[in-house]
C-alpha cells in the first residue's frame, strides 16, 4: 500500500483500494474460524480516539485490532482530557509520546484526520470526520458489493437519503465512480450538497425514477433533527416519499441487494419488510466491516514497519 494514512477515498489510489479489498478476503476467513486470532500485529498498539459517540464503528475497529493481536485502547469523549478542552494538537502529541503505532480517529469536524496526520508521525485511520468521509465504511460496502455481485463496474447503484450530511455517501461516491459503477443519488434538493452533479453521478428527486433495474440500493440514515433545521417538512412525509419499501424495491432487479450503514431508523428510511427481507445484506456489511478494518490496520502497520 502506497498511502501512509487512510484519510479518505477521494485521495486514495485505485491500486491501494484494490489491495485493501484483496487483503480483506483472508481476514474474513480468520473471523469465521473458531479461534479468531492471528499474531500479525502482536506488540503493536492501536489507539482509538473517538470524539463522537459511536458503538458500531468503535467495536468493529477494536475487534479488528484484537483479532490481529494488537493492543487496542479507546479514548472517548467524556472520559478523558478530550472533554477538558485539550486541543487535537495536544492530544495528538500525547498519543504519539505514549507510543501508539496507529491511531484511529472519529471526529465531528471534517478534516480532523488530515490535521492529525500532519501533526504526528504515526499512520492515521479516519473513522469518520464530520461530513467529509468515512472511508472504511465505503470500503466494506465495496467489499460487500463485490462479494455479492462479483464486480462493481457497470452495476447500477442507487443511494437514497441525506447525501448532504453523509460522509458515508461521499466516500461511496468517490469509490464507486472510480470503479465504474453507474451511480444514482436520490434526495430532495434540501439534502443534496452543492455541485454534487459534477461528480459523475445522476441526481434524482424521486426514488421511483432511480430504482428501475438497479443492482444495489444503499439507504442512508435520516436524522430527525433535519426537520428542525427546516430541511424536510417532517419525518412522516420523508418516509412516504423516500422510504424504501417492498413496492419501491420491486422496481430494482430481482437479485438486487439492499445496504444500510446503520443504525437503522425502521419505518423512516427503510421499511421493516425490506430491512428484514431476503435482499438485505446489512448484517453481512457488519461482518465485512471487521474484515476490511483488519486489512487496513494490517497494511498501514506493515507499511510503517517497512
Amino acid at each position: 500500500m502506497q498511502a501512509k494514512h487512510l484519510l479518505g477515498l477521494a485521495e486514495l489510489s485505485a491500486a491501494d483500494i484494490e489491495e485493501i479489498l484483496n487483503n480483506a478476503v483472508p481476514m474474513k476467513q480468520v473471523i469465521s474460524r473458531d479461534i479468531k486470532k492471528v499474531p500479525t500485529l502482536r506488540g503493536k498498539s492501536v489507539v482509538m480516539l473517538f470524539y463522537e459517540p459511536s458503538t458500531r464503528t468503535r467495536v468493529s475497529f477494536e475487534l479488528a485490532g484484537k483479532y490481529l493481536s494488537a493492543d487496542t485502547v479507546n479514548v472517548t469523549t467524556g472520559l478523558s482530557s478530550v472533554s477538558k478542552g485539550e486541543s487535537l494538537f495536544d492530544t495528538a502529541k500525547t498519543v504519539q509520546a505514549l507510543g501508539a503505532d496507529l491511531v484511529v480517529l472519529r471526529h465531528p469536524s471534517a478534516g480532523a484526520s488530515h490535521l492529525l496526520a500532519r501533526l504526528i508521525d504515526v499512520p492515521v485511520v479516519n473513522a469518520g470526520d464530520g461530513m467529509h468521509e468515512h472511508p472504511t465504511q465505503a470500503l466494506l460496502d465495496l467489499f460487500t458489493i463485490r462479494e455479492r455481485k462479483g464486480s462493481i463496474k457497470g452495476g447500477k447503484v442507487v443511494i437514497i437519503g441525506d447525501v448532504l450530511h453523509s460522509r458515508v455517501a461521499r466516500s461511496n461516491i468517490w469509490a464507486l465512480t472510480r470503479f465504474g459503477a453507474d451511480l444514482h443519488l436520490v434526495a430532495p434538493p434540501t439534502l443534496l450538497p452543492a455541485g454534487i452533479e459534477q461528480t459523475g453521478v445522476t441526481v434524482h428527486h424521486r426514488p421511483e425514477e432511480a430504482l428501475v433495474d438497479s443492482d444495489v440500493v444503499m439507504v442512508l440514515r435520516l436524522q430527525r433533527e433535519r426537520q428542525r433545521q427546516g430541511l424536510i417538512p417532517g419525518v412522516e412525509e420523508y418516509a412516504k416519499l423516500y422510504g424504501l419499501n417492498a413496492e419501491r424495491l420491486n422496481l430494482a432487479r430481482p437479485d438486487a441487494v439492499v445496504m444500510h450503514p446503520g443504525p437503522i431508523n425502521r419505518g423512516v428510511e427503510i421499511a421493516d419488510e425490506v430491512a428484514d427481507g431476503t435482499r438485505a445484506v446489512i448484517t453481512d456489511q457488519v461482518t465485512n466491516g471487521v474484515a476490511v478494518r483488519m486489512a487496513v490496520l494490517y497494511l498501514l502497520a506493515l507499511g510503517r514497519m517497512n
Binding site: 469536524s109 471534517a110 470526520d129
Partner: protein, 425 residues
C-alpha cells in the same frame, strides 16, 4: 529637516499619469515637485528606477487593540503597514471593547501616535456593541476622530436598524461600511458553497448570502441617500448589483481584497486554515468578476481586511479555526503581480485604488503628491522580486496563505509625515 526623493517616477492617480520628478519634503509637508530639484542641505533619497506613490491607505484593517493584543497591537500592526507600503490604515471597531465610545476611539489614536508609524483612522461602531440593536453615538464618535462607521464582522441583521443608521450617518456626512452577509444564509458555513466544500465535507457559505445583503443595503442607500461602502466584495453577483446601482446614481463605493482577486476556494483543499476567511475565497467566475469590477471602476478600492490571528487559533480543526488572514505586507506586491502585470489595472489606476479613492471615501486630505500636501509617500521598486516568507512578516501574527508566493514588485520605503521608514531587508 529636508528630504529630497530623487530620480523616481511620480504616480499621480488624480490625473492618471506618471512622470519623472524629484520630490522635496520639508518637515511634514511636500514643498516642491519638479524635474531635477536642487535640495541644498536636504538628505537625498535615491529613488532611481522606483515608483513614487502618494502614501498608500488601507481602509480595512483589524489592529486588535484594545483587547486582543496577543494577535496584534497598534504598534505591530502599523509596523506591518509601513513595511507593506501603507502610510495610513483605517482600523475596524471590532476590538474588545468594541469601538462604540469616544474613549476607545481616543485610545486608538493615542496608541497610534505613540507608535509613530502609519497614521490610524478609527472606524466607529455603527451600533452599540455592534449588536445591531441600538445606534452608537455616531456624532460623538465622529467628533472623537472616527472617519467611517461599520459593524464589520457582525452585519446589521435588521433592515430597519440599518435604515436608521444610514439616515443618521447621512446627516453627519460619514460613510457606512457594510460587511454584507445575510446571517441565516451563511449560518454555520466555513467556506464557499460549491463542489470543493462538498468534497471536503465543509459547510458552505453561498454567494447569495453576500448578494442578498448587498441588494438590501443598496436599496437602503438609495432610500436614505447615505454613502454606502461595500466591504470586501467577493461574488460576481455582488459586483453586478453594485455596477447597476452606480449606473442608477446610488451613492455607493466598494472594495475588494487581494485574496479575493487572487485565490479561489481551491486554496482551502487539504483543509488549509490559512485560507479560511470571511467572506470566503470563491469560484473562478467570482474571481474573474472581481477583477472585471476593479478594471471597470465598479470596485473603487483595494483593501486588505488584515485580520491577524495567533497560530493556536489556526492550527486546529477547520471548523474551529478563526476566519481571517493578514494582508498588509503582501497587498501591494499582489496588486502588481496579479493586476498590473495582467493588465487588469494600469499603475495610476492601481495606485488610485490604494490612495486617492480611499482618501476620498473617508474624507481625508491625501492621495496626491503636490506642494502643500502632507509628506505621506510610498516608494516602490517595480523590478525587484521577493518570495513571501511568513516568518519574516513584521506583524505579530503570520497567518498568510501566500507563503511561498513570488511577488513582482517590492515596497522600498514608506514616508509618513516626512519620516522615512525604510524596508529592512
Amino acid at each position: 529637516m529636508k528630504l529630497l526623493i530623487k530620480g523616481g517616477t511620480v504616480v499621480d492617480p488624480a490625473a492618471r499619469r506618471m512622470y519623472r520628478a524629484d520630490v522635496l519634503v520639508e518637515g511634514d509637508r511636500v514643498t516642491a515637485v519638479d524635474k531635477r530639484l536642487a535640495g541644498g542641505d536636504a538628505r537625498v533619497f535615491d529613488a532611481g528606477g522606483k515608483l513614487v506613490f502618494p502614501g498608500l491607505i488601507d481602509m480595512h484593517v483589524h489592529l486588535r487593540e484594545p483587547g486582543q493584543e496577543y494577535k496584534e497591537t497598534i504598534a505591530t500592526g502599523t509596523r506591518a503597514a509601513v513595511r507593506g507600503g501603507f502610510t495610513a490604515v483605517a482600523a475596524m471597531p471590532n476590538t474588545k471593547p468594541v469601538a462604540d465610545t469616544p474613549a476607545v476611539i481616543r485610545y486608538v489614536l493615542e496608541k497610534a501616535r505613540e507608535a509613530g508609524l502609519a497614521r490610524v483612522y478609527p472606524v466607529g461602531a455603527l451600533t452599540r456593541g455592534s449588536r445591531g440593536e441600538e445606534l452608537s453615538e455616531i456624532g460623538e464618535l465622529k467628533a472623537a476622530g472616527a472617519v467611517a462607521f461599520s459593524d464589520d464582522g457582525r452585519p446589521v441583521a435588521g433592515a430597519g436598524m440599518m435604515r436608521r443608521a444610514m439616515e443618521y450617518a447621512r446627516m453627519l456626512g460619514v460613510p457606512v461600511i457594510s460587511h454584507c452577509e445575510e446571517p441565516s444564509l451563511a449560518a454555520g458555513g466555513v467556506m464557499h458553497e460549491g463542489l470543493v466544500a462538498t468534497t471536503l465535507g465543509l459547510r458552505g457559505i453561498p454567494a447569495a448570502a453576500e448578494e442578498v445583503m448587498v441588494a438590501r443595503d443598496l436599496i437602503l442607500a438609495e432610500m436614505t441617500g447615505c454613502h454606502l461602502h461595500v466591504a470586501h466584495v467577493s461574488t460576481a453577483g455582488a459586483v453586478r448589483l453594485i455596477r447597476e446601482a452606480k449606473a442608477r446614481g446610488v451613492r455607493v463605493t466598494a472594495e475588494a481584497t487581494p485574496h479575493h482577486f487572487t485565490l479561489t476556494d481551491r486554496a482551502v483543499a487539504d483543509y488549509d486554515t490559512l485560507a479560511k476567511v470571511n467572506p470566503p475565497l470563491r469560484s473562478d467566475a467570482d474571481v474573474a468578476a472581481v477583477r472585471e469590477g476593479l478594471g471597470d471602476g465598479t470596485i473603487d478600492v483595494i483593501a486588505t481586511d488584515h485580520a491577524p490571528h495567533a497560530s493556536h487559533e489556526k492550527n486546529v480543526e477547520f471548523d474551529l479555526a478563526a476566519f481571517g488572514l493578514v494582508g498588509l505586507e503582501t497587498a501591494v506586491g499582489l496588486v502588481f503581480t496579479e493586476l498590473v502585470a495582467d493588465n487588469v489595472l494600469d499603475v495610476p489606476a492601481a495606485v488610485a485604488k490604494m490612495s486617492l479613492n480611499p482618501a476620498r471615501i473617508l474624507g481625508l486630505q491625501a492621495g496626491i503628491i503636490e506642494p502643500g500636501a502632507a509628506a505621506d509617500i510610498t516608494v516602490f521598486d517595480p523590478e525587484a522580486e521577493e518570495v513571501v516568507d511568513p516568518a519574516l512578516l513584521a506583524g505579530k501574527s503570520k497567518n498568510t496563505p501566500f507563503g511561498g508566493y513570488r511577488l513582482k514588485g517590492v515596497v522600498y520605503a514608506a514616508v509618513v509625515g516626512g519620516r522615512v521608514h525604510l524596508r529592512d531587508r
